[in-house]
Symmetry: C2
Subunit: 348 residues, 2 copies
């Protein structure tokens, strides 16, 4: 490696000197070179190359008031947030889009209430330009802390709770309600009439919205046909047992996510019921290694999780640029609801 005995790191000053221009011109070139004669642009570029110049981030931030970094805040009401494939996909989408926009991802892991103030301070400290957070349950305090910090933020999933009530925070979520409607419609369209629902946690908006979609199509459904789960496979199996006890004659079930649908499949198999022959099953999410590998493969509602992650970034960037230009609060923040699509496989 031909590494010149690197003294102190080269500064814009040294680049300018070497190129025989002023610091201002050097700066212009480094930042795109608009309004600088081609000859000089070349000269400066060469100097940058030869010196191995890399702009000093702190100095730049100090004057521009932009850090180029975005915080991704992970609350952890549950164990295993990261192992969750849903989550991983979303963070991956975020990471990719951030990279594409040349921004950095600062990971903030909130493990408990003590961390809320720490995070609020951090956000308030101007370390990042904006924040991305997720609407998990029990995170009212975190949501509030983020709001208080004054840093623009976008949520993944529709926020809930009193803190979010009038707040009108921008978020990205899939059309949970519409997707659920489509799922139930599908069951109706293939002739099912005694349709049950395995609902997700009552403190997660996605679960509530899916339940609402179910009721949109079946407004007169008996409360007995909806059983409560918690998004785990186990709970799905248990809920299916309950439903079967209450309604032995049911001919279809819509589970609020794939994992619970797989649990239901298990119970059904144990009882010797054929799917979809006796009971048709529809899930939600279209989790890669879940829906496709289920037995039988799961008909489910797909959502573009990675895309939602990317969208969160774009939305945030939009808000940041808007803020910059419009000075004060521009138009109300606009949330994005992404479409879902029914994926037909063998289970319904």
């Amino acid at each position: 490696m031909t590494e010149r005995t690197m003294g102190p790191r080269p500064t814009l000053e040294s680049v300018a000197a070497r190129a025989g221009v002023s610091r201002a011109t050097a700066s212009r070139v480094v930042n795109g070179g608009a309004g600088v004669r081609g000859a000089l642009v070349d000269k400066v570029r060469r100097a940058v190359e030869e010196l191995g110049y890399i702009p000093n981030h702190a100095a730049r931030t100090l004057v521009t008031r932009r850090t180029g970094a975005i915080a991704v805040i992970i609350g952890e009401p549950e164990f295993r947030v990261f192992s969750d494939p849903f989550f991983e996909q979303q963070v991956r989408g975020i990471s990719r889009e951030l990279t594409a926009q040349d921004a950095q991802l600062v990971l903030l892991w909130a493990e408990g209430p003590d961390d809320h103030t720490r995070i609020a301070r951090y956000l308030g400290g101007g370390h990042v330009d904006g924040a991305l957070a997720f609407s998990l349950h029990n995170d009212g305090a975190l949501t509030a802390a983020i709001g208080r910090s004054g840093v623009p933020a976008v949520f993944g999933g529709r926020p809930d709770g009193p803190e979010a009530a009038g707040a009108d925070v921008p978020y990205v979520d899939c059309d949970n309600r519409g997707g659920a409607r489509e799922a139930v419609h599908h069951l109706v369209s293939i002739g099912r009439r005694r349709i049950a629902h395995i609902a997700g946690p009552r403190d997660q908006t996605s679960a509530l919205d899916r339940l609402a979609g179910f009721h949109d199509v079946l407004p007169h459904a008996d409360p007995e046909v909806v059983s409560q789960g918690d998004f785990t496979t186990e709970s799905g199996a248990r809920a299916m047992v309950e439903l079967l006890a209450r309604r032995p004659d049911l001919d279809a079930v819509f589970a609020a996510n794939d994992l619970m649908a797989v649990g239901a499949l298990r119970t059904l198999r144990e009882r010797g019921l054929a799917v979809p022959g006796d009971v048709a099953v529809v899930g939600f999410d279209d989790m890669p290694s879940v829906a496709e590998l289920a037995d039988p493969p799961l008909t489910t509602v797909r959502q573009d999780i990675e895309g939602m992650g990317r969208l969160m970034v774009r939305l945030l960037m939009g808000i940041l640029n808007h803020d910059k230009e419009a000075g004060q609060e521009g138009g109300a923040p606009v949330s994005v609801i992404t479409p879902t699509a029914l994926v037909r496989r063998a289970s319904a």
Copy 2:
């Protein structure tokens, strides 16, 4: 919320003014207050409180040349890095220790070769004080890029490949070889004599070291008794089939990780062989939701994964502080090998 119509954010200047001291004194107080009269300390503290002053990070970094941020670099030769529970635990340990040290975690996700230069540039750009990376396979280029950047780095797992050869990079790893020895010793001590090994990928040092440990205890083992796996449950099951074909009389098997041990358990069960009656099985890792829940529960070698994550941070911080004081390269970087412990359960 009593929020004064916040104009521009308060600066040290305004704090000093309000406290009736100089900026220098205010700065001293903000940074611990050493060598400042108690009365003044109080005054300044109060001003900070009243104004809601938060130090400007960029300005501070500009003069101190310290960012207070550490990069965590995630290479991704495989799909599903983050879903890996091993990985999650380690990152969690890192995150916790970083928080404890009041440092920030900047996540760098390297998805392909194109990202190497991007990452090298980022590291070289002085955005972070140091970096943490992992020794996955096929990451020679990444490792090299990190090295070239000149930023102090600590690896998780013993690095491999030509790039790491003479480089002598600091790393944190568990005593894979010693742990493997202990596992095999245990099998010997309970009277097993025909012991086989299911090895992990040949391009991962952890797998190689475990294999070496196996040979330490059984130097004359026939090559036939070691079968190749890739750390997945599936591969463990297949490897067990092979071993059984080659050595129908084997009475014990040491798998290089828990997942493969579980696979072996499955094959054994299918063949109607009792564990540990006919064949004793030992794994490696003591993965929470794997070893304990296996049937029968797995005897395995435990390593403190989260602790290793924390150690990576401490080691890095040690290097950073050392660099700062000693000016130039201090003593050679010292890696840490953490101890393992055999956990006896039912399988051996």
